[in-house]
Amino acid sequence: MSLHLYDYVLSGNCYKVRLFLALLNQHCDVTAVDFFPGEAHLSPTFLEINPAGTLPVLTDGDLTLCDSAAILVYLAQKYDNSGTWHPSTDAATSAWIQFWLAFASKLSDTVGQARLHDMLNLPCDIDATRTAGHRALRELESHLSEQGFRGHRFLIGDTPTIADIACFPYAALAPDGGIEHDDYPAVRRWLVDIRRLPRFIEMPGIHRLHDQADDPTP
C-alpha cells in the first residue's frame, strides 16, 4: 500500500496536497498529468481513474479520492500522528474546519478563476471575477485581523490546520490573476507565517522565504 498522487504542477489544488504531504514528511509517488496544453485529464485512461476529469487525485491502496479538501481530511486523519492538523476536539472546531474548506472553494472560484483567465486564457467575466476575488480576500483579511487580536497566527487558533493549507495556495497566487496583496496586510502576514513552517515546499508563483538561510556561495 502506498500513496499515489496524480498531479499538475501549476494547479493550486494539487499543490495543497503536495504541500501537506511535505509538511507531514509523508512520502508519496507522483504522476504528472499534462493538464495544459495536453488536456490529459480528459483522456480515456485518466477518466477511468477519475470520471470527473479533475485534479488532484490521490490513491491509497483501493481508495481513490478526487477532491483536494477530501484528500486533506483523509491525510490528516490517517497520517498526522500529532493530531493537530485536523483537530476535532469539539463541535465548533470541526465546523470551523468545514467552513474554511468551503471558503477555499470560494477562493478557487474567484481569485483562482482570475488566475486561469490570465495564465491559460480561460474565458470568464474578468472584472466581475476580480471584484468577487477582492470580496473574498476582504473576508479573509477581517478574520485574520481578528485572529491577530487573539494572538492567533492561523485561521483556527495559533497552530496551522488543514484549513490554512486549503486556503493558502489561491490566496498566495492572487497576483497571478491581477489581484494584488497590497490591500491585505493581515493576509500577507499569514502567508509569511505559512511559508515559515518547517518542511515548507514551493510551487511556481509561491517561493520560499529567502531571509533565513544564506544562498549557496558561487
Binding site: R138, E180, D182, H210, D211
Partner: protein, 234 residues
Amino acid sequence: MNTAADITSWLPVALSDGLPDGGVMRVQTAGHDLALWRAHDHSVHCVDNRCPHRGMRLSFGFVRGNRLNCIYHGWQYGETGACAYIPAHPELTPPESLCVPTLPCVDHGGRVWITLDPDATALPAMPAHPGLRSVAVNVSQDRIQAALGSGALPSTTHPQRGCSARVLDTSAFDCRIALDVATGDTATLVVSIQSVSAERSQLHTQLTAAASVELKVAASRWLDALRDHLEATA
C-alpha cells in the same frame, strides 16, 4: 525653508506594528510606486520600487540584516539606497552610480511616515498608540475627509459588538473617533488617512488605550462598516 505646509507633507503609509523587523511591503501614493522595509536594527526605509538592474519590484524582495535584497538576482541595497553587494560578482565593489532613490522615512507615533519633500520639517511629538489594523477603501482621501468632517458616520447594530461613532477632533495628521459599544465600553480610534490613488486610500487605525479582544473586534467590525459606507456613498 520650513513652512506650515511642510508639516502635512508627511504621509502615513503603515502602522509601525504592520512592518515588523525584516518586513517589506509595497506602498503606492500620488503616482509613486515604493517599497517600504524595516532592517533588523529596527530602522525603517523607503525606496523606489524598482531594482536598477532589471526593473524588478523591490517589494518582492527580502531583508537580511540591514540590507534589502532584490528577489531576482540578489542585489543588496543598504539604508542609503546604494548597492552594497552583487552575488554574481562577489569580488566587485559596486560603483556609486548603482543606487536606488530613497525617500525620507520615519517610525513615529505608532505609524511609518514618508515624505516626497526632502526639506520637510520634522513631525511634531505624537503618542505612539498601539495599531489596530490598516483598512483599504476604494474612495479618494478627499471624499473620506469630507465624510468624516460631515460627522455622518455609520453605526453597527450587533447586540454586543455594535458601535455608535462620533468624530472628536481632526488634526493635520489624523482624526479621532469615539466609539460607544453596546456593552457600555468605549474606545477612541485614531484614523490616519493615506491617499493611494485618485480612487483608493488606506486607513491606518490605532486605539488610544489597551483594549480587550472583544473591544478590538467591535472596532474592527465598525471599520468594515465604515469602509462599506464610504464606498456606497462615494
